[in-house]
Every structure is written in structure tokens, then in C-alpha cells.
């Protein structure tokens, strides 16, 4: 059925070199509408570089990336965001001393209507706080009581929640999440997985990078196995076991045909 769709986000033959190291070696990538695509791979396989290329944090040396069939060439995360691609980074990219509302609107603050906003750049703090509160409530995160609370006073799971809410609130095309459960405890991981499912339920396609096989197999629709800087294969979680997936990504087992689930 997925073959009927055209990919939302598609990359062909992308290459990224850091000096002598080739982090991405003619890698391909496809994300279809409405799906959760997990990206797995061993350390140093080039997952992070792939994600950074898709989210504009690095500029690729060769290859092409298309969003909705249109070629894109991001040179900054800002451009990717403007195109509707939101990323939840592993380090969350939150400013700890600033408030939840400040963080959610960082880099896209709302200005007051009228002269004060137009000529004096006055920020509309009230509107931003209201919207931030709405977005967090939508995702069931209002155990956070005070929207003006500094992010550093939140627990790990709550911070992750703020970062996910920010991405879900502003991402119009794709949400990319890098290791969203890596730093969390069992209960908080469960909550974040539910959040991811909530975001998906609104029809937003999600790219999920994770080392946690149980989480990947639970939530992903398809799994992109990255190895030695390129896509090794794409598998469906129902067709293979976790140990198969680990075997593919470490090279212990021959990979199935690449077109298996694409």
C-alpha cells in the first residue's frame, strides 16, 4: 500500500565527508506519508549525519534531497524548519535557563500586533504563553503547571515532552526525533512513546532514530537499517525479529533485498 504513495522526504546518493572520513556514502532514504520510520544502525554507521543532512544542520557534498518531490538544499536548520521539517535533537536543543514558552518559540517568536510589534519588535509574551500551554495540553503534558518555569527545573521526561511538543506544534511536514528515549527511565520512555504515537495519529510522518530495539519494533511501521554510511535495507518489524535487525546492522547476517518493504 505504501508503494502507492510518493515519499514525503526522499534522499538519493547523498555523500558527506569530514576530512578523510566518509560519514555518508551515497546513502538513500525514503519517508512515506503518515508513517513512523525508525532508523537503526551501529555506532558510526552515519545515522546522525543522515539526520543532520535531512534537518539542515549539515550541508551535503553530493546527492539530492526532495521534500514532496521538490529538491531542497538546506544550509541551516532554520531553512529546514521553514520548510516544515522539525527535529528533536538528542541533546534536545533547549536553553535551560529560559522558560518553557521562550523555548517553544525560540527563533520564531510572535510579535505584538500594531506599532509596538512592527517598529519596536515587541514580543507578544501572552500569546506565546497561551499557545505553548495549548500545545502542551494537547499532548497531555500539563503536569507542567507553570509555562514560565525554567526548563532546567523540569525532569528529563518533561524536557523531552517540551521538545516533542515544540516539534509537533510547528512541524508541518516531517518530525525527526533523535534518540528520544535514550536518557529516560522506563515510565518516562513509555510516556514519550505515547507522545510519538499521538503525533503520528495527527497524520504527521516521523523519523525515529533509536538504539532501543524493543521501542523500535513496538512503534515503527518500517525500519531503515543504516550501515557503513548507507542504507543497507528497509524491513518491516512484523517480518523480522529484533535479533535479525541487529544482525543486519552489525553485518552478522546478509541483508534482505533492499526493496523488501520500501
Amino acid at each position: 500500500m505504501s508503494n502507492a504513495h510518493t515519499p514525503v522526504l526522499k534522499a538519493r546518493g547523498i555523500v558527506k565527508r569530514y576530512g578523510r572520513v566518509t560519514a555518508l556514502d551515497r546513502a538513500d532514504f525514503d519517508l512515506y506519508p503518515g508513517e513512523i520510520l525508525a532508523v537503526i544502525g551501529d555506532n558510526g554507521a552515519g545515522k546522525s549525519s543522515l539526520i543532520k543532512a535531512l534537518s539542515g544542520a549539515i550541508t551535503i557534498d553530493e546527492g539530492s534531497i526532495e521534500l514532496d518531490g521538490k529538491p531542497i538544499g538546506f544550509t541551516s536548520p532554520m531553512e529546514a524548519r521553514e520548510a516544515g521539517i522539525e527535529t528533536v535533537y538528542q541533546n534536545l536543543a533547549l536553553s535551560p535557563a529560559l522558560s518553557i514558552a521562550d523555548n517553544m518559540f525560540m527563533g520564531r517568536e510572535l510579535r505584538k500586533p500594531g506599532i509596538m510589534g512592527k517598529y519596536f519588535g515587541a514580543l507578544d509574551h501572552k500569546a506565546m504563553q497561551r499557545i505553548a500551554r495549548e500545545k502542551l495540553t494537547e499532548l497531555g503534558l500539563m503536569t507542567i503547571q507553570n509555562i514560565n518555569q525554567a526548563v532546567e527545573t523540569l525532569s528529563g521526561g518533561q524536557r523531552q515532552g517540551v521538545a516533542v511538543a515544540r516539534a509537533a506544534a510547528f512541524g508541518s511536514r516531517v518530525v525527526i526525533m533523535d534518540e528520544p528515549t535514550a536518557a529516560l527511565g522506563v515510565k518516562e520512555s513509555r510516556r514519550v512513546l505515547e507522545l510519538i504515537a499521538d503525533v503520528k495519529a495527527r497524520g504527521m510522518p516521523i523519523v525515529l532514530i533509536s538504539h532501543n530495539m524493543p521501542h523500535v519494533f513496538e512503534i515503527a511501521d518500517r525500519i531503515h537499517v543504516h550501515r557503513l554510511g548507507k542504507r543497507l535495507c528497509t524491513i518491516k518489524p512484523d517480518d523480522y525479529s529484533m535479533s535479525d535487525a541487529v544482525a543486519f546492522m552489525t553485518g552478522a547476517k546478509e541483508a534482505p533485498d533492499i526493496s523488501d518493504a520500501a
Partner: protein, 360 residues
């Protein structure tokens, strides 16, 4: 992916025990705190309260020690007048320190720009308003040079501004020939340069335009930092530069603007300093760099960046002014004023460290 509803189909085996557990996630702990913790949390939320409390206490204490003279309108306005130039430099310094940088060249930029304004107006006969504007542009350029070296050449701010401090100081001696421009000469040719030394009398108080200028600069910067996107970006960069970058802020561009704005504020301070001293003196304000940092630190802005209010350094400068005035009126030797300020600085940083350690 044909049945998206299936997504949260199966829980992990080991998670089934969770069903019987408390389902709340990361609730806030409302355990009773002792007074010490409460104070720490309050100060963490309101870091500017520390300097405000210190200011209030020092005014009360010096009021007792130095007697009623201390509270005379004349003395209070004198304190404001004495801290004006350092206060303006502290405002410039705050901008840079908020980005987790430091600017050792603020004093040198200020003196250099006052010499440029003076030399243009007096020696070259340039009309005073144009000389002043050229000085402002020079201040922006000097600051932007710092910002360029910090962001593009990627040198630590301490090293960059240590270097430019010396460079600007040497240029200042070269341009001025190490000669002052006397007050009478300024009065004859370019009285506008001394504008901020003039004052208005309210009751027994003599409030100079320089004092008003300082308050206005703090007001404008307060607005910019708290009520514009650019201001929020300055805090975000100081807090975590990489996170700010990933949030889509053009950090290097913002940083160059921060240093440039700091340079402009220094140049405005240069104009005020001519009014304060009454002449253009290339040897004046030698200690201004460190005094500005002292005011910022006492004012509760963290040297690690991203924390503190711009109002803090204003209070910090006033604290230094109150200490100096109070100790002088009490007949204490000047060296003990310096001694007291030294301890005050160390205590201020210690308090900052303690507040930052607050447990969430």
C-alpha cells in the same frame, strides 16, 4: 503502515508490571523545604533580588555609619553622578557577559572614542555633532571587530578583548599625543561635547544629564533584552550556544551585533565621560574595565552566560557608589573602599554559584 491505529499495539513484556504502578509521570515534589532551600529557590527565580537586598542593606548601614549627610539629596545625586560612566560601561559589559563572553576592551573603546570625538572637534574643526556621530560609528566598528574575531576566527573573547584593549589604548595615545584637551578649549570650540556634565537641580539634588543618560541606556537595553526576539536570542546563546544554533538562531550574526552594540554603548559612554571629567583625557578611566566587570558581577549576571537581568548591573554600580560614598563620608581611607569592593565581588560570585546549584 496500512493500519496506523495499530501503532501502540504491544507493550514490552517487562513493562506489564507498570499497570499496577503509579501512573503519574514526573510529578513535582512538594516536599517541605527548610528556610535555606526556600531562599535559594526564590533567588534562583529572581537573581536580581540579591543586589537589591545588598543595596538596601548597604544604604541602611552607611546611613548609620556616615550620618545624615549620607541621605542628603546632594549626596545621593552625587552617587548617581559618580557611577554614571561606570554604569554605562557595565551596561555594555552585561551584553557581552550574557553571551558567556567577556569584554576587557570596554574602557579602552570608551577612552579612544572620547579622544576621537575631541580631536575631530578641536584639532580638525569638525562640527561637534558630526564628531560625536563619527565616534559612535567608531564604537560600533571597534565592538564589531571584537565580535568578528570571536565568531569568525573563533578566538576566546578573553584573548580577543585583551588584545584589542591594548590596541585601542595604543591608538588612543597615538591620536591624542598623550595630551589632554582642556576644559576651556572645549567650552570655546565644542561645548556640546560637555553636554552630559550639565545638570538640573531638583531641591538640593544636582542630577546630571549623564546620570539620566545612564538610566535611559539601562531602560532601552532592558526593553531590547526582554521584549524583542533579538534579546531572547542573546540569552539563549549565552545559555547554550549549540542549542540556540539548532533552534535556528544565527548565533554568529547575533554575537557580532552584541559586540557592536556594546561598542556603541561604550561610545555613548565616551560622550558622557567628557562631560563627567570636563576634559578629554587619554589617561582617564584606566580602571574602568575591571570596575565595569565588578558592577556586572555584583549585579548578579552570571559570568557563565545566559542568566541575570540587565537591571542587576545598574544596582551593582550603585552598590559600588554607595560603598565608596559611605566609606568616604565615614572618613575611611580610600584603600579600604577598594578592599571592600574586592570582597564584595568575591562574595557576589560565591552567591551566584550557590544559586546556580539549586536542585530542581
Amino acid at each position: 503502515m496500512s493500519e496506523p491505529a495499530q501503532t501502540s499495539r504491544k507493550k514490552q513484556e517487562y513493562e506489564h508490571t507498570l499497570d499496577s504502578s503509579d501512573s503519574s509521570v514526573a510529578q513535582f515534589d512538594h516536599k517541605h523545604r527548610n528556610l535555606f532551600d526556600t531562599v535559594q529557590h526564590f533567588l534562583h527565580g529572581n537573581p536580581t533580588m540579591v543586589p537589591v537586598i545588598v543595596l538596601v542593606f548597604s544604604i541602611i548601614i552607611f546611613g548609620f555609619v556616615a550620618g545624615p549627610k549620607f541621605f542628603s539629596p546632594f549626596n545621593l545625586s552625587l552617587i548617581l553622578q559618580q557611577v554614571a560612566v561606570i554604569g554605562i560601561l557595565a551596561a555594555a559589559q552585561s551584553l557581552v557577559i550574557l553571551t558567556a563572553g567577556i569584554d576587557l576592551s570596554v574602557g579602552a573603546i570608551m577612552v579612544l572614542m572620547s579622544v576621537i570625538m575631541g580631536q575631530l572637534a578641536i584639532t580638525l574643526g569638525v562640527p561637534a555633532p558630526i564628531a560625536i556621530i563619527i565616534g559612535f560609528i567608531g564604537g560600533i566598528a571597534a565592538g564589531a571587530l571584537n565580535g568578528f574575531l570571536v565568531t569568525r576566527i573563533k578566538l576566546p573573547p578573553f584573548i580577543v578583548t585583551l588584545g584589542t584593549w591594548n590596541i585601542f589604548f595604543a591608538l588612543n595615545l597615538w591620536l591624542s599625543g598623550a595630551q589632554s584637551i582642556r576644559s576651556q578649549t572645549l567650552d570655546e570650540i565644542a561645548p556640546l561635547l560637555k553636554f552630559f556634565g550639565e545638570s538640573i537641580a531638583i531641591g538640593g539634588a544636582r542630577i546630571t544629564y549623564g546620570s539620566i543618560l545612564m538610566l535611559a541606556i539601562f531602560g532601552v537595553l532592558w526593553y531590547i533584552l526582554n521584549h524583542t526576539s533579538w534579546g531572547r536570542h542573546v540569552y539563549a546563546i549565552g545559555d547554550d550556544k549549540e542549542a540556540a544554533e539548532l533552534s535556528g538562531i544565527r548565533t554568529n550574526r547575533t554575537l557580532i551585533m552584541v559586540y557592536g552594540l556594546a561598542g556603541l554603548v561604550c561610545a555613548v559612554g565616551a560622550w558622557a565621560s567628557i562631560g563627567r571629567v570636563g576634559s578629554v583625557s587619554p589617561q582617564s578611566f584606566q580602571e574602568a574595565n575591571l570596575q565595569s566587570i565588578t558592577a556586572v558581577v555584583i549585579g548578579g549576571i552570571s559570568l557563565f552566560g545566559g542568566r541575570g537581568s540587565i537591571i542587576g548591573p545598574l544596582i551593582g554600580a550603585l552598590i559600588v557608589g554607595v560603598f565608596n560614598s559611605g566609606l568616604r563620608l565615614a572618613g575611611v581611607d580610600v584603600l579600604w573602599q577598594v578592599f571592600a569592593i574586592g570582597w564584595l565581588t568575591i562574595i557576589a560570585v560565591a552567591i551566584d554559584q550557590w544559586i546556580r546549584k539549586v536542585s530542581a
